[in-house]
Symmetry: C2
Subunit: 255 residues, 2 copies
C-alpha cells in the first residue's frame, strides 16, 4: 500500500525542497522504494537531482491536462530505488488550469490511483503558495510535513496552514495528518531556541523529535545534484535526515 | 513625480519583505515620503509593522475588486512619513480574480494613477509566485529590486525572472529596469563568496554595490513590529539598509 507525503509551507525558503529530496533518499537507503514528485514551477527538486528543467518535458501536468498515465512520467534518478517526476516553469499554469475542472481537488489523487504503484512512498514537493496545486497534494496525502524555521514569519504561516488542513479534512481528505519539522535550526541563536520551545509547548507531539540544523553541506549538495546522504554521508544534516526517515517509518509502519 | 519600486523574486525566503520594510524606513529617514504596499497573502509586511492582518480589513484588492480609491486604503505606521496598505489572506484570491479582467496587467497601475500621490516612493512587497499579482506590480514599477541569496536555487530563479522582465518590457512596461540585491550574505561561507563573485561577473552593474549580511537583529525587528533602523539603529543591517537607500536615491534622483 503506497503512502503519500506532502512537504508544504506557504512560507518561502524553509527547506521544503531540501527535505523532500533528503528524506526521500534516506527512505531509499532504509530499503524502501520512493517516488519524488516536483509540483513547483521553480523545479528546484528537478534541479537538485541534476536534471535541467526544460520546458516541454513531460511533467505531472501532463497527467492532469492530457491524461498521460503516471507510469509514463516517472524517471530514474541514478540512485536505485529512487524515482522522480520532474517539473518545469509550465507548472505555473496549473494554478489556472486545475480549478476549472469539476472536483479539481481530486485530480492528483485520481491520477495516482489508476494503477497499483511499485512504490512504498510518494513524496510531493510543493510551491510556496496555498493554491490549487497544494490543495491537490493535501487531498492525495496521508501525511503533511510542514518544514518550519523558528522565526516569526514562518511560525505565523502556521495559522493559515492549520485552517487549510481543517478545510481539507472536512471537504476532501478526512485522514490527513500533519507534523511540523524544525529546519535550518541554529542552536546558538536565542530566537531559534525561544521560538522552538514555544512551538513544542503549543503543538506537543505535532512537532517531530528530529531537528534539522543549519549545515552548509546542504547548499553544496544542491549544486552537486545529489541528495545529502550521497554528497556528504557523514555530515550532520545527513545524519539528521536519516534520523527523520527513521522517525517517519516509526510513525507510518509501526503505528 | 512618484517613483514605483517592486521587490520580487519567485524564490521563497530571500528577504523580499525584510528589504521592502527596511528600505522604505531608510528612505523616510533620508527625508522622503514613502508608501509600502503589501501584495502577499502571507501579509508579512503588515505583520512586521505590528498590525494583525485580519481578514475583512480593506486591502489593495478592494481597489481592484470594488474600485475603492487608493487614498482610502493607506494607513499611518506610527513613523512619520511612512504609510502602508495592508494585506490579508484574502489576497490569495487575486490570482483568480485579476486575470479575468481585460488588460488585467494594468489594474494596479490604473488604481495608482487616478490621483496625484503625496509620496516620493511606492514600494510593492510581492509573493514568491510569478502570477498576475507580480505581473501587475512589474507593469506599475520603474525599478524591480530582486533580493538574491548567493545560493544555487536562488540564482537559478534569476532565469525565470529575466524572461518575465523581457516579457513585461515588450508587452506592458518598456521602462522597467532591474537591480539584484545580495541578501543574507555570510562572508565566512565559501559558497556565498564564490556564487556572489559569479553573479557580479555575469550581471555587472546589474548587481547593487550594497550587500546585506546575515544579521539576527533583523529577525528580532520583525517580532518587535519595527523596521530595523528603529529597532536596532546601530546594527550592521541597519547601516547596510541605509547604504542601500543612498544607492537607490543616487540611482533614481541623480541619474
Ligand atoms: N539545514 C540547512 N542548512 C543550510 N542551508 C539550508 C538548509 N536547508 C536548506 N538550505 C538552503 O536554504 C535555501 C532554501 O531551502 P529550499 O530551497 O529547500 O527551501 P524551500 O522551502 O523549498 O524554498 P521555496 O519556498 O522557494 O520552495 C536553499 O538554498 C537550501 O540549499
Ligand atoms: N539579513 C538577514 N539576516 C538574518 N535573517 C534575515 C535576514 N533577512 C531576512 N531574514 C529572516 O529570514 C527570513 C526570510 O526573510 P523574508 O521573510 O523577508 O523573505 P521573503 O523573501 O519575503 O520570504 P517569502 O518568499 O516567504 O515572502 C525571515 O525570518 C527574516 O526575518
Ligand atoms: Mg522549494
Ligand atoms: Mg515575504
Amino acid at each position: 500500500m503506497t503512502y503519500f507525503i506532502s512537504i508544504t509551507n506557504e512560507k518561502g525558503g524553509v527547506a521544503k525542497t531540501t527535505t523532500a529530496l533528503s528524506l526521500g533518499a534516506a527512505l531509499v537507503e532504509a530499503g524502501r522504494q520512493v517516488l519524488l514528485v516536483d509540483l513547483d514551477a521553480q523545479a528546484n527538486l528537478t534541479l537538485a537531482l541534476g536534471t535541467d528543467p526544460l520546458n516541454g518535458h513531460a511533467t505531472i501536468l501532463n497527467a492532469v491536462a492530457d491524461q498521460s498515465p503516471i507510469h509514463k512520467l516517472w524517471r530514474e534518478t541514478g540512485i536505485p530505488g529512487l524515482f522522480f517526476i520532474p517539473s518545469n516553469h509550465d507548472m505555473g499554469y496549473s494554478e489556472r488550469i486545475l480549478p476549472a475542472r469539476p472536483e479539481y481537488e481530486f485530480t492528483l489523487k485520481k491520477a495516482f490511483s489508476e494503477i497499483s504503484l511499485p512504490f512504498d512512498y510518494v513524496i510531493f514537493d510543493c510551491p510556496p503558495f496555498l493554491g490549487s496545486v497544494v490543495i491537490n497534494a493535501l487531498t492525495a496525502s496521508q501525511l503533511l510535513i510542514i518544514p518550519t524555521q523558528a522565526e516569526y514569519f514562518s511560525i505565523y504561516a502556521l495559522k493559515n496552514m492549520m485552517s487549510l488542513i481543517r478545510r481539507i479534512r472536512s471537504q476532501t481528505n478526512p485522514d490527513l495528518t500533519y507534523r511540523l519539522l524544525l529546519t535550518m535550526f541554529d542552536r546558538r541563536n536565542r530566537i531559534h531556541r525561544t521560538l522552538s520551545e514555544q512551538l513544542r509547548a503549543s503543538f506537543g507531539n505535532g512537532v517531530l523529535e528530529t531537528v534539522i540544523m543549519v549545515d552548509t553541506r546542504l547548499r553544496e549538495s544542491s549544486i552537486a545534484g545529489l541528495p545529502i546522504i550521497y554528497h556528504a554521508p557523514k555530515s550532520r544534516s545527513a545524519l539528521q535526515y536519516r534520523e527523520l526517515a527513521q522517525e517517519i517509518l516509526q510513525y507510518v509502519e509501526k503505528a
